[in-house]
């Protein structure tokens, strides 16, 4: 049995999962060209990473719990009931109250978001990993070096040892 399984059933509870998606939408909101992180599926990436790393899972759960508590202080229905500005304020507070957890959340949110094909396509990046296809590039045009080639030696002469 792996550690994640020992620690309990699924990685996040449904409430945690829902909160995570809402938080991700504030961390990386959508634009006309790009989806918001939660709606785009970055939460799945975060959860997959947490699944294989119990310490990360605990840290993220701690961060989400902090966010839930801070949100509940502002509205009895929690984070979902807050407007965008209030959500940002809650996350700012969470980033100072549990900085390690918040850092982990950012790391995995960004990593997950920028691995999504629709995001990569939206920013003009190749929507595939670097290998195995790589990239075509023109070889060096040696004419570019004509000026440098004409320079005198730059290396310092050394006396005989």
């Amino acid at each position: 049995m792996n550690e994640a399984a020992r620690a309990g059933a699924s990685v996040f509870t449904e409430a945690e999962r829902q909160l995570l998606r809402q938080v991700l939408d504030v961390l990386i909101p959508g634009t006309s060209a790009l989806p918001a992180a939660g709606q785009a599926g970055a939460a799945d990436h975060v959860e997959r990473r947490a699944e294989t790393a119990p310490a990360l899972r605990r840290r993220l759960s701690e961060g989400l719990a902090t966010i839930a508590i801070l949100a509940a202080r502002r509205h009895p229905d929690g984070f979902a009931a807050l407007d965008h500005g209030q959500r940002e304020t809650v996350l700012q507070s969470a980033s100072t109250e549990t900085p390690d957890a918040f850092d982990a959340l950012i790391l995995h949110a960004y990593s997950g978001y920028y691995a999504l094909p629709q995001v990569l396509a939206g920013i003009g990046a190749p929507d595939r990993p670097p290998q195995p296809l790589g990239h075509e590039m023109a070889p060096l045009d040696e004419r570019l070096l004509a000026r440098v080639r004409q320079r005198s030696p730059l290396y310092r002469p050394t006396p005989r040892a």
Partner: protein, 537 residues
């Protein structure tokens, strides 16, 4: 603890299977000597490298992180570095740090071997560039190099095994900036092949070399030296962590004690012991090999083991461009270099000099998380706008400065921290010198000038990059005087003449370029003379 019975003694026992250990073992094993190499890491399967996966960028923040204190693999040992503004980086595996290195392959220059004579500081090496040149050439052939002859910053070199890496739009943009200022630039000599070579595939310009190269275009010694070496009689044992070198009668080393992966402890006898455990691991091992004859560590009667630690202090200067640069194409860390400010000019206010490295871009996620010294992009409403300004629009210029040796910069054994086998961890004590500070400040200003000349609309900088301890040098340095050095010109310890050092520890000075080409040439030089000595005692 109980020790098993003695194993058969070998002629040569090498500690470490990285850049230097591989080169040394290959060379000596060809001479018919019985060689055993012990490596604390394991083989890494190139098929496991992350660049074939969608989440490839994340791995560099976790299991593929260059800092062993973050990575915490079972092959790693902790390094106490809270007294250093530069974090030591390394990788423990067959291939060592060449597994995750960038492949920059410049040589040290003739003047780098004569620092005392030319500039009145540090020391001269007890050998010259000219003596080392045949070993540079041999190593270039073994590793496979892309480059172009005719660089006025170097004496003429032998033909490069494969043509230079492409510049791409990013490299051409930066080259135009250097041209406008009349400064030197040249395509980087890189241990990355651009044509099929020695049974290996040519580079396909995928980008992130330092994530490991699954097609084998980037040279790492697990795919260059080791297959050839192991086709002969040499033996390599992985997951074997050496604890100490043992001293026999007569003041010579007679073997090592090592731990295997299952916790077993073994003794292995050898006629000679060769250290290739990097500039931190090698002094650690010498310091941990205490005896009545050497209470302060083996070969350390002079007190010089661990001292004169040199990194390459590194500043990162970033230019942001309006035009997209196709910065994800081409070997990311290697594009072009400039050696305009490499040699000493006293008018600059410091001794020695530095090189510029033009670094291509990072992937979208690492760009968001902060590339070469950048701050992480803030979350929230402005995130996308800042990401668009950075990703595919940034050129980073690295300022790699020569670090002069100072005895107070050193590696010692930590009194509390130890590794999984209970071996004391190394503690790194390092202070950036005033000379290095001035050198970097000059480099940052010139880099900004160059980026602006290339068309950057905004420039910022990191004056000293913390996560830049790639190069670990000088801690068992080579010299003619046994009171101020640890090994002689043939890498042999002054005080224990059957113990040799072949890694970056033996560098007398650091130069202002990446050291692997020079370290491997030194390993081949030492191996050549070792073999000669054995043949004609």
């Amino acid at each position: 603890m109980p020790l098993p019975s003695w194993r058969e003694p070998v002629d040569v026992l090498v500690v470490g299977a990285g850049a230097a250990g591989a080169a040394f073992t290959w060379s000596v094993s060809r001479a018919g000597l019985q060689v055993l190499c012990l490596e604390q890491g394991d083989w890494v399967d190139p098929a496991s490298y992350a660049t074939t996966r969608g989440d490839w960028e994340l791995t560099r923040q976790a299991e593929w992180h260059p800092d062993p204190n973050v990575r915490r693999s079972t092959s790693d040992y902790p390094v106490e570095a809270t007294e250093s503004p530069i974090t030591p980086l390394m990788f423990n595996a067959v291939g060592g740090s060449t597994i995750h290195w960038s492949g920059h392959f410049p040589r040290f220059k003739p003047s780098d071997f004569r620092v005392k004579t030319l500039d009145g500081v540090a020391d001269d090496w007890p050998l010259t560039y000219e003596k080392l040149e045949p070993f540079f050439d041999l190593n270039d052939q073994m590793m496979g190099v892309a480059g172009l002859n005719g660089d006025p910053a170097y004496p003429p070199k032998s033909p490069r095994p494969t043509p230079p890496i492409p510049l791409g739009k990013l490299g051409e943009t930066m080259a135009r900036g250097f041209d406008r200022l009349g400064w030197h630039w040249w395509p980087s000599d890189s241990a990355i092949i651009t044509r099929p070579y020695d049974g290996r595939h040519a580079c396909n310009n995928c980008g992130p070399c330092d994530w490991g190269c699954p097609i084998g275009a980037k040279a790492s010694t697990d795919i260059t030296y080791w297959p050839k070496t192991l086709a002969g009689d040499a033996r390599l044992v992985t997951r074997a962590r050496v604890r100490e070198i043992t001293l026999g009668p007569g003041g010579l080393a007679d073997g090592v004690v090592y731990h295997d992966a299952e916790g077993g402890v073994h003794e292995q006898k050898a006629l000679a012991v060769v250290l290739a455990a990097n500039g931190i691991g090698t002094p650690r091992l010498l310091l941990n090999s205490r005896s009545a004859r050497f209470p302060g560590g083996l070969a350390n009667g002079s007190g010089m083991v661990g001292r004169d630690l040199m990194f390459h202090p590194f500043a990162a200067v970033r230019g942001y461009f309006d035009e997209p640069l196709e910065s994800f194409k081409g070997p990311a860390p290697c594009a072009i270099t400039s050696h305009e400010f490499y040699e000493t000019d006293l008018a600059r206010g410091f001794l020695r000099g530095y090189s510029f490295q033009v670094v291509r871009g990072f992937g979208p996620a690492v760009s968001a998380l902060g590339g070469l010294g950048e701050r992480r992009i803030a979350w929230g409403r402005e995130h996308h706008a800042e990401h668009a300004r950075r990703w595919n629009h940034t050129i980073a210029l690295g300022v790699m400065g020569e670090d002069l040796p100072e005895p107070e910069n050193r590696v010692v054994l930590d009194r509390e921290l130890s590794d999984a086998n209970g071996i004391p961890a190394p503690r790194v004590i390092y202070r950036l010198s005033e000379n290095s500070r001035r050198l970097l400040a000059h480099g940052v200003d010139r880099a900004k000038e160059a980026l602006e000349a290339a068309g950057a609309t905004r420039v910022d900088s990191t004056p000293l990059l913390q996560t830049a301890g790639w190069h670990l040098l000088g801690t068992a340095r080579m010299g003619a005087d046994p009171s101020t050095s640890v090994v002689d010109r043939y890498g042999r310890c002054h005080e224990v003449p059957n113990v040799y050092v072949v890694d970056g520890s033996l560098c007398t000075t650091s130069a202002g370029v990446n050291p692997t080409s020079t370290i491997q040439a030194l390993a081949l030089w030492v191996a050549h003379h070792f073999t000669q000595q054995v043949r004609t005692p």
